[in-house]
Amino acid sequence: MGQYVIRRLLQAVPLLLLVSILLFILVNIAPGGPLAGRGQTKHIRPEQAEILKRQYGLDKPLAVRYVFWLIGNDWTKVDNDGDGVAESYGQSKGILRGDFGTSYRTRRPVLETIGDYLPNTIYLMTITLIIVALLAIPVGVISAVKQYSIFDITVTTLSFMGQAIPEFWLGLILILVFYAWLKNPFTGGPLLPAGGMYTIGAPFSVWDWGKHLILPVVMGSVGWVTWYSRFLRSSMLDVIHQDYIRTARAKGLTEKRTLFIHALRNALLPLVTIFALDLPYIVAGSLYVEIIFSWPGMGRLYYQAAMDRDYPLLMAILIIGTAVVILSNLLADIVYAILDPRIHYD
């Protein structure tokens, strides 16, 4: 197992490298470039643009830029004033040494910027996933146990609806209903806030933070609750017809114990794998939530970076995203092997 994980991790290295080249080309061939980006000052004089271009290293050929991005340029002399003479060593250490460069817009190290935004996404995602699990698991189990009951049919219909609702539209409708239409009976203000993580300027209170979580979490979880409850339903249906469930019942275990301990544990197996594979999509899905509810997270950061053509920031988020995808795939395989003793990798 350990060997298998190491081999898979080693295989991931060339893949990550290949993807990074692809993405680097893609990011850099974009016309307009950071100097024409939206977030920048409207008019940059041509001579100023020259200086900026040199500063950003954009005057170099693409291949050189990639190498500098990967391993840095502090080992070679670069031309800073545009006289054609390379006079001083570069400043960049390259991503292999943990230097993702400096954001064009904020002029701060990329990793520092990401460090500001990432915890907010993790916070939102954690709460969302807890809610998804708390809803999807009981709903999936009950649907399977009471197959074709009114409950099951209702859930099936709702899950078809949940899969078809555009996530961002759900967000808009939630704002419409809970912010614009429904009023707080005590203050007369909106029932729920329509954006942000907390009331700016107000002292910290759990109530205030909680209020700001409700709508984003509902928006982010509806699709996944319907998806996983469907999935768990069919996986439970497979399990509860197995012999060992009959055995469990025959030896007099309570129905609750049979279903929730013996059956559920096995039914969750495939779900865990699917969940690991879904992880990147779940994280990516938070992009819409963050944009609609002005949540200061990674999705919004990426969106802004794409608007601004903030190359270093874009590349950093894309590489981190790729690493998440690759690691999730590996995680899916590992978890599968751990949970199912019949599976061996060697």
């Binding site: 990550l16 692809l22 893609l26 899969q163 555009p166 419409l176 794409a306 998440v324």
Partner: protein
């Protein structure tokens, strides 16, 4: 002559059976009716007395009424007309994505699965790499690049551009599915028989295996149309997809965002259209899945 006749008759029976079972699936019937109505309405958009692009500043933000069943927008344009024209774009993108994904994914998957060995290794390296990409992020990046690319061809064909971007990021799933199906079918006796009789590889891939592999391909790609519509609407909502003044369901919602608390109809109707289109396609896909499922033939005695 007789041979081809009898084989034709047999395939007709099989597809006839699938057809019959599809129409017994209530979800599939409902989905087909709704989708059919949507397509028809969208095709008849030209019958509207209003122009989808021309602004009428005298009738801005009118709530739904008989004259404007979905109200009007910030420029006084009839929302129903814009929703119908936008539907043309959104549905067209949805179908085009799948056609693009099929055009790339089926040949790649079929060749990889049929030949196996190094061909398979080489060909499937591409989807494997592409599947390691964070797809939504790359989708946004690609769309952002293409939006500013100074290419007249792309400017004139926004549908093709957006469909191309989404298609490029979704054909891998088709390729994987087709490869897996080919891998299992190529071991079957009728393929060996075909080869013994001297059929070329091309003929076996296209004429012998493809008809037997078509079921899962159709089912998965029907569902893919729905995802593609959702993806287009999301991209256009973010401002990276179809650009105004050309309406699409996504950019109508993007437009509605700033006005919606006062003029909610602008946000409600385009979203309902996306919802209806996607849910009806998903029900059709569900019906097709049941209709193509060979186990249902054996268990259901009809």
């Amino acid at each position: 002559m007789t041979e081809s006749f009898s084989s034709k008759k047999r395939t007709e029976t099989l597809s006839g059976m699938i057809w019959k079972r599809f129409w017994k699936h209530p979800g599939a019937v409902g989905g087909s009716i709704v989708l059919g109505a949507l397509v028809l309405a969208v095709l008849l958009a030209g019958l509207s007395p209003y122009d989808p692009q021309k602004s009428d500043l005298g009738s801005r933000f009118e709530p739904p009424s008989w004259a404007h069943p979905m109200g009007t927008d910030a420029l006084g344009r009839d929302l129903l007309t814009r929703v119908l024209y936008g539907g043309r774009i959104s549905l067209l993108v949805g179908f085009s994505v799948v056609i693009i994904a099929l055009l790339i994914g089926v040949p790649v998957g079929a060749v990889a699965g049929y030949f196996g060995g190094w061909v398979d290794n080489l060909l499937m390296r591409i989807p494997d790499t592409a599947l390691a990409l964070p797809s939504l992020l790359v989708l946004i990046l690609l769309a952002a690049i293409l939006r500013e690319l100074d290419a007249p061809l792309l400017e004139k064909n926004p549908v093709l551009t957006i469909a191309g971007v989404i298609g490029i990021l979704s054909w891998m799933f088709v390729a994987r599915l087709v490869r897996a199906t080919y891998l299992s079918i190529r071991e079957m006796d009728f393929v060996t028989a075909g080869r013994t009789l001297g059929a070329s590889d091309f003929r076996i891939i296209v004429r012998h295996i493809l008809p037997n592999a078509i079921g899962p391909i159709i089912v998965e790609n029907t569902l893919e149309i729905g995802y593609a519509i959702l993806e287009e609407s999301g991209l256009s909502f973010l401002g990276f997809g179809i650009q105004p003044p050309t309406p699409s369901w996504g950019n109508l919602l993007s437009n509605a965002q700033e006005h919606m608390t006062k003029h909610p109809w602008m946000a409600i109707f385009p979203g309902i259209m996306i919802f209806l289109a996607v849910i009806s396609i998903n029900y059709i896909g569900d019906g097709l899945r049941d209709a193509f499922d060979p186990y249902k033939v054996m268990t259901k005695s009809e």
